[in-house]
């Protein structure tokens, strides 16, 4: 039998342990711990809404018997604006328009690190008057600003495996779908054409660019040395281990992170955790030198990474740059 998913993934759970931290000549104790409660949660008056998602691939709202307003999600059995007149369930459409431009989460909580970047918008579905909060993706790669705005038409997509919760659905822009997909009620995630992860074509480097890149590499090496030597900066990559294959038209190398230390190894690494590709190695150097974030270079498509989930490593590199810059500046401010 297939192993069922646990409500808390095993990897999140720390081992029973403690450590001692020395602060100004005194020891302090830090204890691994958790505060947990399990639930068999009553879905109550929302049961029909969630069962309709799970079993029928339908979206339900509620209509007020007095004012006729249709609320989706169905809030609630009685209308708060009409002296609590009763409401009745109604089915609403599966396309709608965004009430406002949706935010995009690049830095997520520990439970959503592997799902970022994602959008979360307020979708007013056809036949509804209020907005449903919904997770938003594009099928065209990493979600960047401008793809979805106020008024963008969005289609609801159902996960193939559904358990009767709000994460059973998400939205994509209707413009990325075929007319048949856009029309189809209960469209499944597996029916979408998710653009395959493809390494960008970086083109050829000129001889001059190759020569220049050698100088940049030396600069980069000096900066990484400074980072590894800084106690403050290296905290950003404490207990972290990654080998990144960096590819540029002019040069390839490995960027190695190993528990507070970072360095580069010339030549293509034998194996790597992920690939980072950019036309100009300066983009990476500037990011590490705290002149523009690496995150933003990805958002602006100046730098490409092979795995979305490695945004977590990119954030650590951005912090590393910031910590080093801050240490230098505070040192100067304090005199």
């Amino acid at each position: 039998m297939e192993q069922r998913k646990k409500v808390i993934p095993e990897s999140y759970i720390p081992i029973e342990a403690s450590r001692t931290l020395r602060m100004e000549d005194k020891d302090y104790l830090l204890m691994n711990d958790a505060m947990y409660t399990f639930y068999e949660r009553s879905m109550g008056e929302f049961s029909q809404f969630f069962m309709a998602l799970r079993d029928e691939k339908k979206i339900l709202g509620c209509r007020c018997s007095a004012c006729g307003v249709v609320r989706c999600p169905p809030m609630l059995t009685h209308c708060p604006d009409c002296a609590f007149a009763p409401t009745e369930p109604v089915e609403v459409g599966q396309t709608g328009k965004l009430l406002s431009t949706p935010p995009i989460t690049y830095f997520a909580t520990s439970m959503f690190l592997d799902k970022a970047p994602f959008g979360r918008g307020r979708l007013v579905l056809e036949g509804a008057d209020t907005a449903l909060s919904i997770m938003l993706y594009t099928t065209t790669g990493i979600l960047t600003p401008g793809i979805m705005k106020k008024g963008t038409e969005i289609k609801i997509v159902f996960q193939d495996e559904r358990t009767g919760q709000i994460s059973d659905i998400f939205g994509v822009p209707t413009s990325e779908l075929t007319p048949e997909q856009a029309q189809k009620p209960g469209l499944l995630a597996s029916e979408l054409n998710w653009a395959a992860v493809k390494e960008p074509d970086l083109g050829q480097a000129t001889e001059e660019a190759k020569r220049a890149s050698q100088g940049t590499l030396v600069e980069l090496e000096a900066l990484l040395k400074e980072m590894s030597a800084s106690k403050r900066a290296s905290k950003a990559i404490e207990n972290w281990k990654r080998t990144i294959a960096v590819k540029t038209p002019a040069v390839e190398f490995g960027l190695i992170i190993d528990n507070g230390r970072i360095w580069l190894e010339r030549g293509r690494p034998q194996s790597s955790d992920f690939v980072m590709a950019t036309e100009d190695i300066r983009v990476l150097l500037d990011g590490l030198d705290y002149k523009g974030a690496i995150t933003d270079a990805i958002v602006k498509r100046k730098l490409w990474i092979s795995k979305n989930i490695e945004f977590v490593t990119i954030f650590k590199l951005d912090r590393l740059a910031r910590f080093l810059a801050r240490e230098k500046k505070e040192g100067a401010a304090k005199g």
């Binding site: 990897s11 999140y12 720390p14 931290l21 830090l30 711990d33 505060m35 879905m43 004012c67 307003v69 609320r71 999600p73 809030m75 604006d81 009430l99 406002s100 431009t101 949706p102 935010p103 995009i104 989460t105 690049y106 830095f107 997520a108 909580t109 520990s110 439970m111 690190l113 799902k115 970022a116 994602f118 979360r120 307020r122 509804a128 209020t130 907005a131 449903l132 909060s133 919904i134 997770m135 705005k149 106020k150 919760q165 709000i166 994460s167 998400f170 705290y290 002149k291 523009g292 974030a293 690496i294 995150t295 933003d296 958002v299 954030f315 650590k316 951005d318 910031r322 500046k329 401010a333």
Partner: protein, 406 residues
């Protein structure tokens, strides 16, 4: 719109205040010790003993941060107030302002003559063992505050919910909240913090360019436009008129009166008849109530100091507009017209705000009141506004008006 607010039965003043240092992490102290420390210093500032305190209101935002379900109960004895009334307030980010309002009501109503306002928060013990850093677990802990049926499971965070409101505002006012203006405001606050020795980032001055270059956390919010999580405590001593005057005579520090209080929580779901999307109506309503109580008709002319809950710089700008300091859609006047720049008429967040002093949630707005009181007394200014916000989409709003008569 809320009904006309009844006025306080008795005059209430602040006669003592304190903050502990705000730090990224207090490994050396539990929240017990932080709470006791702030209490000790506030009572010392007022020159009174615990025996002279009639009641306490605790501001502690999140049980999960403190890792205990009723985290205030151990504090009652620790702060020397056994067998006295204690109420714990938890209202999201607005916990501090609501705690001040609760203690104010205790004293204004005539129920008690003095009350302690005590806010404390430990946040960064939360730790994500996968990414081996605190922040993803801290924001996860706050993310248990999203709607549990419809939003928690799709990645709701405090940042993305505030970003929703900010983007909706920007849809309506595309020329406002210019990136160079939000960058300038962050830079200005980083200069203010220099004189706050209790701040987490006292020596972290940034240029507008550095803010512009900082990374996106949640579009459209950049790292240096977002407050930092902090640990610490803050306290105020409130007293009714005669007691306040007697204490002030003793300490030589004038009473700062609380002359207006306004509170408002709006709908948390969006759509027809449910919300004014792109507005922060709770801040507008809370401010109007407080102005009415304090007799203020033109806040931009009558208020000199604003300690505003700057969870995000863009929200700071919208909140200033909602509270009537700048027109809606023209919030950039804060910088473009120099309103909050050096030499301008309004000092905004002399403490450095939650961005630079730090956001120790339950203590934050109380720290703001501490800073506003100092600004009024030390700089001889007349009137200050203290603001708090919280919950999803800035749903909660609270405003207090402080006045210094000398």
């Amino acid at each position: 719109m809320a009904k006309k607010k009844s006025f306080a039965a008795r005059k209430v003043g602040i006669v003592g205040a304190s903050v502990t240092p705000f730090k990224g992490r207090w490994v050396e102290k539990t929240f017990y010790d932080l709470a006791q420390w702030a209490t000790r210093d506030a009572l010392k500032d007022a020159g009174i003993s615990p025996a002279e305190v009639d009641a306490v209101a605790y501001g502690i935002y999140n049980d999960i941060f403190e890792r205990a379900a009723i985290p205030e109960h151990p504090l009652q004895g620790i702060i020397g107030l056994p067998n006295k009334p204690g109420i714990r307030v938890t209202n999201g980010g607005a916990t501090g302002i609501y705690t001040i309002a609760s203690a104010f009501a205790f004293v204004a109503s005539g129920m008690y003559d003095t009350a302690l306002v005590l806010g404390v928060e430990k946040a960064t013990d939360c730790y994500d063992f996968v990414s081996r850093s605190a922040t993803p677990e801290v924001i996860k802990t706050i993310a248990w505050s999203g709607d549990s049926f419809f939003e928690q499971k799709i990645g709701w965070t405090a940042s993305d919910s505030y970003a929703e409101v900010i983007l909706a505002y920007m849809d309506e006012h595309p020329g406002d909240l210019k990136p160079e203006v939000t960058a300038k405001i962050s830079s200005v606050l980083s200069e203010h913090v220099k004189t706050n020795p209790y701040a987490q980032r006292q020596f972290d001055q940034v240029t507008p360019e550095e803010v512009l270059n900082s990374r996106y956390i949640v579009y459209p919010l950049k790292e240096m436009e977002i407050c930092v999580y902090s640990e610490g405590a803050a306290a105020l001593v409130l007293a009714e008129e005669e007691t306040a005057k007697a204490i002030a005579k003793n300490t030589g520090r004038p009473v700062v009166w609380i002359t207006g209080v306004g509170l408002s929580n709006e709908w948390s779901f969006a759509g027809k008849g449910m919300n004014h999307w792109g507005r922060i109506y709770s801040h507008h309503v809370a401010a109007q109530q407080a102005y009415e109580m304090a007799g203020i008709t033109d806040p931009a002319k009558e208020i000199q100091v604003v300690e505003l809950h700057d969870a995000f710089i863009q929200q700071l700008e919208i909140s200033m507009a909602e509270m009537g300091f700048v027109p809606m859609g023209r919030a950039d006047a804060l910088v473009d017209d120099g309103l909050m720049l050096d030499g301008g008429p309004i000092s905004v967040n002399p403490s450095g705000g939650l961005l630079y002093c730090g956001h120790a949630v339950g203590a934050s707005n109380i720290m703001s009141a501490w800073a506003a009181r100092n600004e009024l007394i030390d700089k001889g200014k007349h009137r200050a506004l203290v603001h708090g916000t919280g919950s999803t989409i800035c749903q909660y709003g609270g405003v207090a008006i402080l006045e210094h008569e000398d």
